[in-house]
């Protein structure tokens, strides 16, 4: 049963991250996902210190606020002439340092340790359960992640057309009257919420990996956004499940194994994808030369 809960948690993380990751990869904002996943830390710690509890709601709120502040600051510096990747780098490292210092200062009050911040405690998920009307209804993490997946799924589903246009041609989207900036912030808000929900169970590093790697894998396999999202989620789930069993076998970090598995799948797609794979392309090139 514990295996089941861990796999379900990891699968939910993989699904919600890789769903949003598709849009990040298409909009060339993959590193913003990285930035947000690091910079929500001070929000979590401050929410924890103020509310004095590990209540997910406050942490979620604090972290979402920090996520939006991050995006806002990055845009602000970018507009004042700093290169985009440098402004990402300045903002997230600064906020992450604030978080790390806060954690170290309040080690006694904060029940978060730094290892857990980076690679999470998915192994503890099955024990942190919720009770409703006296009945044990399963781990908290599963419920919060499920809700987050539902939220981002329904927002993206409702405004699919708008998000699609914003990702491929923001200028045209603005021209036909779609509030591009609003959708940008909505997407970033969803990324922050997802990051926070995943943060506690799987750590910052798995969130970054799951945001980028499955989406990039899917990007190599198809030309359609809908299919890409499907493939991306599938890749995410396969790599989290596979990674879990590898980690049991090796007795190693679960989050680390999951990303490594995702990296393996990406490598496969990079080499053997029928449309964009390096090897197939080389082979086709050679055949073309021969026929010529």
């Amino acid at each position: 049963m514990n295996d089941f809960w861990i796999l379900l948690t990891a699968g939910l993380v993989a699904c919600s991250c890789s769903l949003l990751g598709c849009f990040l990869v298409l909009r060339r904002m993959a590193m913003i996902g990285d930035a947000i996943s690091h910079s929500v830390l001070p929000g979590i710690v401050i929410a924890f210190l103020l509310s004095g509890s590990r209540d997910s709601f406050w942490m979620m709120l604090g972290a979402s606020v920090l996520g939006l502040i991050t995006v806002f600051l990055i845009q602000l510096f970018q507009q004042s002439g700093v290169q985009s990747d440098a402004s990402i780098g300045v903002v997230f490292t600064a906020l992450f340092s604030v978080g790390v210092v806060l954690v170290s200062l309040f080690t006694r009050q904060v029940d978060l340790d730094l290892d857990c911040v980076l690679y999470g405690e998915i192994i503890r998920v099955p024990w942190d359960t919720m009770t409703w009307a006296g009945i044990d209804i399963g781990p908290k993490a599963v419920w919060s992640l499920g809700l987050v997946l539902l939220l981002s799924g329904s927002v993206l589903g409702l405004f699919f057309k708008q998000f699609k246009l914003c990702s491929f041609d923001p200028a045209m989207a603005a021209a036909v009257g779609i509030p591009v900036a609003l959708f940008h912030y909505v997407l970033m808000g969803l990324v922050s919420v997802t990051t926070v929900a995943s943060f506690e169970s799987v750590g910052a590093i798995l969130v970054v990996g799951m945001l980028v790697v499955p989406a990039a894998t899917a990007y190599l396999l198809t030309e359609r956004l809908g299919t890409m999202i499907l493939y991306s989620m599938l890749t995410g789930v396969i790599s989290s499940t596979g990674g879990y069993y590898i980690s049991v076998w090796l007795d190693a970090s679960i989050a680390g194994c999951m990303i490594t598995a995702a990296g393996g799948l990406f490598l496969l797609a990079l080499l053997f994808s029928p449309s964009h794979g390096v090897i197939w392309r080389k082979w086709r090139q050679r055949r073309m030369e021969q026929t010529a």
């Binding site: 700093v82 300045v90 490292t93 945001l211 190599l220």
Partner: protein, 323 residues
């Protein structure tokens, strides 16, 4: 009480070495970072810093020693594989550089964590302190490490000053550099390699997670103050060394706090000061400029109104009429 602490801190020869080491480290990473910034590759440092982790772990697993020399080799190898991987993915597929960076960063770091847990679970002896690599702890460094760190950092600065002209040309117009017959690809790889070396030497003091900040933040701050590369590189180096110094002193004074985040916070403080007070580009000087322009425009308007006698300034018009 505080003053005694500081005095004791500064007299202790070991602390002096550590301070010297972190100043030199900040200097070298600031200098290298400004070239990376001008080449629009700031986040490359982030990816390389994360990618160094598996290299360090493998070096430890193979040799069983925590000597900085082996780590340097392992991390340099991992860093070179990472740069090659990023280049391969962006050249051969339609995946853009940011996604390629994200993939390499997270997969290498994930692999590094797997290896780290393997080391911690295995009984390969003295592995304590390997987890310090994530956030750095300058105070825990032993004398020989500090000497190596200082020496390598100094070497990096010397290499940069010798190759200053080449790197400058590479940063602004690599096509022109190629036309003049410079080995552009080689210089490019060399710059990457120097960044990898800076990251590796910094790992023990600052940690892999935040090493990139020392490469990015001082350079961005320095860019605010000047339009000349030479001045920018020097300023960036100075900012870097000040942040290294403050971070180390604060972390030694308040034990238990990791050095990396404190150095990064010091660098960020300098960045905020630059954003606000820098001449020409800073917020204050921009506001002053705006204010003086607005004032002069208003004055012009007033004068024009006085001359033409438009209805927008009726009081003056009356005076004009009387005159």
């Amino acid at each position: 009480m505080g003053s005694i602490d500081w005095l004791g801190l500064l007299v202790d020869p070991n602390t002096q070495w550590i301070l010297l080491g972190s100043i030199l480290l900040g200097l070298s990473s600031g200098v290298l970072g400004s070239f990376a910034y001008l080449r629009k590759q700031s986040l490359m440092g982030d990816a390389l810093a994360h990618a160094a982790l598996p290299g360090v772990c493998i070096a430890f697993m193979l040799t069983g020693s925590k000597s900085i020399g082996f780590f340097l080799i392992g991390a340099a190898a991992a860093g070179l594989i990472a740069t090659f991987g990023i280049g391969f993915v962006t050249r051969n597929t339609r995946i853009k550089q940011d996604s390629a960076l994200g993939i390499v960063l997270s997969v290498f770091f994930g692999l590094g964590i797997v290896l780290l847990t393997q080391i911690q679970h295995g009984d390969s002896g003295n592995q304590s302190g390997l987890d310090k690599f994530l956030f750095g702890q300058a105070a825990s460094m032993v004398h020989s490490d500090v000497v190596v760190m200082a020496a390598v950092a100094l070497l990096l600065v010397v290499a940069c000053s010798l190759l200053f002209k080449e790197f400058k040309l590479l940063s602004f117009d690599s096509g022109f550099a190629k036309g003049l017959g410079y080995p552009v690809a080689l210089l490019d790889q060399l710059l990457m390699f120097l960044i990898v070396v800076a990251v590796v030497v910094g790992i023990q003091a600052v940690g892999v997670v935040l090493m990139s900040a020392l490469l990015i933040t001082p350079a961005v701050s320095a860019r605010y103050w000047t339009e000349k590369v030479g001045v920018m590189v020097v300023l960036s180096g100075v900012f870097g060394s000040i942040s290294g110094l403050i971070g180390t002193v604060a972390s030694t004074a308040a034990n238990n706090l990791p050095t990396g985040p404190l150095s990064v916070l010091a660098a960020t403080m300098l960045f905020v000061v630059s954003v606000i007070f820098a001449p020409r580009r800073g917020v204050v000087s921009k506001a002053l400029l705006q204010w003086s322009v607005r004032k002069s425009v208003l004055q012009e308007k007033k004068r024009a109104g006085a001359v033409l006698g438009t209805s927008s300034v009726p009081a003056q018009r009356g005076e004009e009429g009387q005159a």
